[in-house]
């Protein structure tokens, strides 16, 4: 049986199940997979986390280095988010320059961090116009079993929440200190499967999906970022319903990212 045929059969099966309110892995439509977060997984990073979302695994590493501020924002630090969807993590990823999928993950995570003001960029500045901390958030996907954006977001904010500014090593302070983080944004992704809208899709559900919507919320109950993806459409009422579900999932996941139990 060719890969294409197998994939079509799986898609039909996923849609049939959804029509009767069921999912391949037995979850309810609004049930998130088990999440585990291991902060400090990477000793060479200034902040890091390994996140498992079901079988999806993403490592995040935060590095802080001294650099120059941008000319138009002399009093602000620099934040750079980068996602690597390396071919190790999925049969569908190819070696080479970043693909649109990787760029989308990094940009959606980046937008949420900026909009939620997780990092006060003004506090990263060392000498206005001259020297500032550049904060790199590198997201390294290891196992792509669906819903990369949520997993990458969780890994990113967990790594930031546990990051230490290497001020002593770079000779700008007597001691290193914890990176100050404000609101933690949490992404929550849904896909449409026929008339059903399910949360935290697996890889197979993403393949079968008729539209994807990612909603980032912060702890003040605000929406800070959204991204519709894949082929498909949502009504405004669909969106309103997903927003309330995203807020509920966000609260629970945020506690996990801060260090509490998931």
């Amino acid at each position: 049986m060719s890969g294409e045929v197998a994939s079509e059969l799986r898609t039909t099966h996923v849609l049939d199940l959804a029509a009767s309110g069921k999912r391949l892995d037995g979850r309810a439509l609004d049930e998130y997979r088990a999440v585990s977060i291991e902060p400090g997984f990477i000793a060479t990073a200034d902040g890091s986390a390994l996140v498992r979302l079901g079988d999806t695994v993403v490592a995040a590493g935060v590095k802080l280095e001294l650099g120059k501020p941008f000319p138009d924002t002399p009093n602000a630090g620099v934040l750079t988010t980068n996602a690597e969807l390396v071919p190790l993590s999925s049969p569908t990823f190819e070696p080479g320059p970043p693909q649109p999928g990787a760029i989308e993950v990094s940009r959606v995570v980046d937008r949420a961090i900026r909009a939620a003001e997780t990092i006060d960029l003004a506090r990263l500045c060392v000498t206005p116009g001259e020297k500032t901390w550049v904060c790199y958030v590198d997201l390294h996907v290891l196992d792509h079993s669906g819903n990369l954006i949520d997993a990458a977001m969780l890994a990113g904010v967990s790594a930031l929440a546990h990051a230490v500014v290497p001020a002593k090593r770079f000779g700008v302070a007597e001691a290193d200190y914890a990176l100050a983080v404000g609101h933690l944004p949490i992404e929550c992704t849904f896909v449409r499967l026929g008339d059903a809208i399910v949360v935290d899709p697996t890889f197979d559900e993403e393949q079968a999906a008729q539209g994807r919507l990612t909603i980032a919320t912060d702890e003040l109950g605000r929406v800070v970022a959204m991204q519709k993806g894949l082929v498909g459409a949502f009504s405004p009422d669909d969106v309103r319903s997903m927003v309330s579900r995203a807020l509920a999932h966000g609260d629970r996941l945020r506690a996990a990212a801060r260090g509490g139990p998931a």
Binding site: P100, V223, F234
Partner: protein, 250 residues
């Protein structure tokens, strides 16, 4: 969204509730759409929307290039959103940056949601968008232009795709932000609508909104899209009366 450490924030709303260009909160900027201005493309459109100037062209259905993207059961829809070097205040390096690649992706997915791609298996429908002058809202202007260009090329679609961004300025929800409003506002929410189904095929957001604000933004955007929809249809009707070039009578 406000850049940290950037210049001072200007006053975006007057005491009378008017915006810096005198518009009301639910008012669109002026829009002119011309269908078919280009000769080489199979379909084309030029959109002037406020101070945006955006050209779109469609080629196809034609051979898929590169070949390995070919699909046996449908056409692939490839989209390239590009900004000219001179389209923004600080010269942009030619070529697609990460932002352009992301926008190209979401626009392609929006059109894949309405084009009847299965009618042209093993072909490519190539949608090119060139932003010549940018002033906030270029992805929506690009969607509108590309949508008219697709119709001009005779590509069968479920519907045209009007698009507009809603934003938040000085705490108020406002339709169709211009550059200063986008730079110093609190949120930006671009969307593209399938008018006949009432569903959204493009939706992005950045900033902060309460769920209630977001709900109102969706309604405001849908209403704005309906206005733009009429202008798109008119442009296609005018197509047969004029074949003028862009800027011809601008």
């Amino acid at each position: 969204m406000g850049s940290v450490g950037a210049k001072e924030v200007p006053v975006l709303l007057s005491p009378e509730g008017l915006r810096i260009d005198g518009r009301k909160l639910d008012e669109l900027r002026p829009i002119r759409i011309r269908a078919g201005p280009l000769h080489q493309a199979d379909g084309s459109a030029f959109v002037e929307w406020g101070a945006n100037k955006v050209m779109a062209a469609v080629y196809g259905p034609r051979e898929v290039h590169p070949r390995h993207l070919q699909q046996n059961n449908k056409a692939v829809i490839q989209c390239r959103y590009n900004m000219a070097a001179f389209s923004v205040d600080e010269r942009k390096r030619p070529g697609l940056d990460r932002r352009s690649q992301e926008i190209s992706k979401v626009i392609a997915e929006a059109f894949e949601s309405v084009v009847f791609a299965e009618e042209y298996p093993r072909t490519s429908i190539d949608v090119y968008i060139e932003v010549l002058q940018a002033n906030a809202g270029t992805r929506c202007a690009g969607l509108v232009a590309a949508s008219v260009a697709l119709a001009d090329a005779g590509i069968p679609m479920a519907d045209l795709l009007p698009a507009v961004a809603v934003g938040k300025i000085d705490g108020k929800i406002a339709l169709d932000l211009k550059k200063e409003e986008d730079n110093f506002g609190e949120a930006d929410l671009p969307m593209a609508l399938v008018p006949q189904s009432g569903r959204l095929v493009l939706l992005q957001m950045e900033g902060h909104m309460t769920p209630e604000e977001l709900s109102r933004s969706l309604d405001l955007g849908v209403a704005g899209c309906k206005v733009i929809y009429e202008k798109m249809k008119q442009a296609l009707r005018d197509r047969y009366a004029t074949t003028e070039l862009p800027g011809g009578s601008a």
